[in-house]
């Protein structure tokens, strides 16, 4: 009976999903039709006949550092520029804007002053045709905001996927329940049959001693059991005591959801790009926000797929997280400048050695040349940063015993290296041989 109730439920979901897909498809068709309408009427003929694909290449390599097509950046937004300016003026301006300003051209001087006298680079390498191509790309009509339509539809279908696993699990539970009910009913009916036919259901066994009494009377068994019990308690107790003060796996919720997976993994940014002080100081350093802004001045939004993935897999709106960065640094995206109103991002420190232990990053990173991942794990795969190593003394000591010293290219220690290799009669020796196990190296 329950099964028959389940069916319309699935049917409903199927209908919902297909309905959404259908609306999405029709929307997509609409936008495709909208795009074919083409350029604005103000765009000159030469530009219309140029190649926007080639223009895109040039635009991305030469102009995009300062200009965006539909938004103001370091320089003004360029869409509809052919409506604002004459073509000849544009050729001159792009090839050498400073010369045009010096020549006293009214439009040029006005523009220069309006944009706080930020000089635009000269591009003498561009031909008029190149500029036409760039303008053809710039004047392409703004694509309809597909994101708004695609994202909810995508989210819904993904939500559907999430529900479907729940449905499967629920179904399994129901099936199990139904099976056990059936089993019980079958058993009951069989019993009734047996009763009706006069068959004895269970032959009553002669009642012996209960098993626990037999167990209690056997001294050897008791002895073994007690030993096992004591061992188990010792094992459990030891395990419990050894994990006190160890924060392995600690992954606090940070004020900004920062994904090492995207930055260090997908985008392959060096660890030391952000954690630059790991090279030269005791601390690896939580990067100050100006380092974030090195890239995020330009990257205000993540790619559509990344945004969808974040929502689906991790339940995070990456774009909102970037907005948190802008809020903290006081970056105004509309004027592309800092407002001066800042507030701290209160990151929660994860790796924290007890006060009685000394550790220095530069010694390990720059001198020994150890990979960050040796102690911090595969950070480039972490969506949320966590503590990989136990950071216990045993863990430190173990590595000091096993790690070989870099003897080559280390002129400063050449003499002591030679003496030590003579003393031990080996070519390579470990950190422990160098005194890496002495108490005073880390505790003082």
């Amino acid at each position: 009976m329950k099964k028959s109730m389940e069916r319309p439920f699935i049917l409903k979901h199927f209908l919902l999903v297909s309905l959404l897909l259908f609306t999405f498809l029709t929307f997509a068709q609409d936008t495709a039709e909208g795009e074919s309408s083409g350029y604005g009427s103000y765009v000159p003929e030469v530009v219309l006949n140029s190649d926007p694909a080639k223009g895109k290449e040039l635009f991305n390599s030469l102009c995009a550092a300062c200009h965006k097509r539909y938004k103001n950046a370091t320089g003004p937004s360029l869409h509809r520029v052919t409506e604002r300016r004459e073509m000849d003026w544009l050729y001159e301006w792009i090839k050498n804007s400073q010369e045009l300003i010096k020549s006293g051209d009214n439009q040029a001087v006005e523009l220069y002053n309006e944009w706080n006298k930020v000089a635009m680079n000269a591009f003498p390498q561009l031909s008029n045709q190149d500029i036409n191509d760039i303008l053809a790309y710039v004047e392409e009509p703004k694509p309809e905001p597909k994101v708004a339509v695609a994202a909810p539809a995508g989210a819904e279908t993904q939500g559907g996927a999430g529900i479907s696993t729940e449905i499967v699990l629920g179904l399994l539970a129901v099936v199990l329940l139904v099976l056990s009910v059936i089993l019980y009913l079958v058993n009951k009916t069989l019993n009734r049959f047996a009763e009706a036919n006069g068959i004895p259901i269970r032959a009553d066994k002669p009642k012996g001693k209960p098993i626990w009494v037999a167990f209690a009377e056997n001294q050897f068994l008791i002895f073994v059991a007690v030993i096992f019990l004591l061992l188990a308690v010792a094992w459990g107790g030891y395990g419990f005591l050894m994990q006190v003060g160890v924060d392995q796996g600690y992954a606090p919720i940070q004020p900004i959801h920062y994904s090492h997976r995207i930055h260090a993994g997908e985008n392959q940014i060096e660890c030391k790009y952000c954690h630059s002080s790991a090279r030269v100081s005791k601390h690896s350093g939580i990067p100050s926000l100006n380092v974030c802004m090195n890239c995020h001045k330009q990257i205000a939004e993540v790619a559509e797929e990344t945004q969808a993935e974040g929502k689906k897999e991790y339940g995070v709106d990456y774009n909102a997280e970037i907005q948190k960065l802008y809020e903290a640094t006081g970056w105004d995206t509309s004027t592309q400048s800092y407002t001066g109103e800042t507030k701290p991002v209160k990151w929660i420190r994860i790796h924290n050695l007890p006060d009685f232990a000394y550790f220095n990053h530069s010694q390990h990173v720059s001198v020994a040349g150890i990979e960050c991942q040796t102690c911090h794990g595969p950070v480039e795969t972490y969506e949320i940063q966590k503590q990989y190593a136990p950071l216990t003394m045993g863990w430190c000591i173990n590595c000091h015993r096993e790690s070989k010293i870099q003897v080559g290219d280390n002129a400063y220690y050449e003499k002591i290296h030679e003496e030590l290799s003579e003393k031990y009669g080996v070519e390579e020796f470990t950190v422990a041989d160098m005194g890496g196990l002495e108490c005073g190296k880390c505790h003082y």
Binding site: N121, V246, N267, Q268, E270, V291, N294, W347, D355
Partner: protein, 195 residues
């Protein structure tokens, strides 16, 4: 009755397993040996503005080995630096190797390992508009490269917080070498330290 007992047991053990919360720190034995008496790096204390131990350095503070940079952060300063500023570090192999190492950490991700402006982020179209070092319109010099690393320009940020003066000059040497390579010029001859 027996099955009920099993169910309760399973439920209890599940509850215990799910109890370990990874967003909280573990408890500590004798925490007064763990927590430092002075203010901890990146700690949060009421005494500081905005409760952050990590603060900007006081105005006028300089770090060891710091040399002041005289040029202003505007077009004029850029042009002056471009025309007259020269790299004070000798052009040695050692400096160049160090410069290359730093370049590959801080610059190559956008500018590309060969300086053509096609770094990994540019290839993925995350960052756009990175010029090649042999760009004619810019015609970079030792001075202009240092000026841009110091202050940043347009979308590029300042790198003065990630490298010290000496390291910036090492990178400067390497950038000029990449430019020479792109332009197909012969590499500059190394100087000896005494020069």
């Amino acid at each position: 009755m027996k099955s009920l007992f099993t169910i309760v047991l399973v439920a209890f053990s599940l509850a215990f397993i799910s109890c370990s919360d990874k967003t909280e720190r573990n408890y500590q034995y004798f925490p007064n040996m763990y927590v430092s008496v002075p203010y901890d790096t990146y700690g949060e204390y009421e005494i500081f503005p905005q409760e952050q131990e990590a603060l900007l350095i006081a105005d006028g503070t300089i770090s060891r080995g710091f040399t002041p940079y005289e040029y202003e952060d505007d077009t004029e300063g850029y042009n002056e630096a471009k025309a007259e500023l020269e790299n004070p570090l000798p052009y040695t192999e050692e400096n160049l190797v160090k410069g290359k190492e730093l370049y590959n950490i801080y610059c190559a991700i956008c500018h590309g390992e060969n300086g053509k402006g096609k770094g990994y982020l540019v290839e993925r179209e995350k960052i756009l508009g990175v010029p090649s070092y042999d760009d004619q319109g810019r015609a970079i010099t030792e001075g202009s490269v240092y000026h841009v690393m110091w202050y940043g320009i347009n979308t590029m940020g300042s790198y003065a917080s990630q490298m010290n003066n000496e390291e910036l000059w090492m990178v400067d040497h390497y950038v000029m070498q990449l430019k020479a390579e792109l332009e197909g010029k012969d590499p500059r001859e190394f100087q000896t330290e005494s020069e």
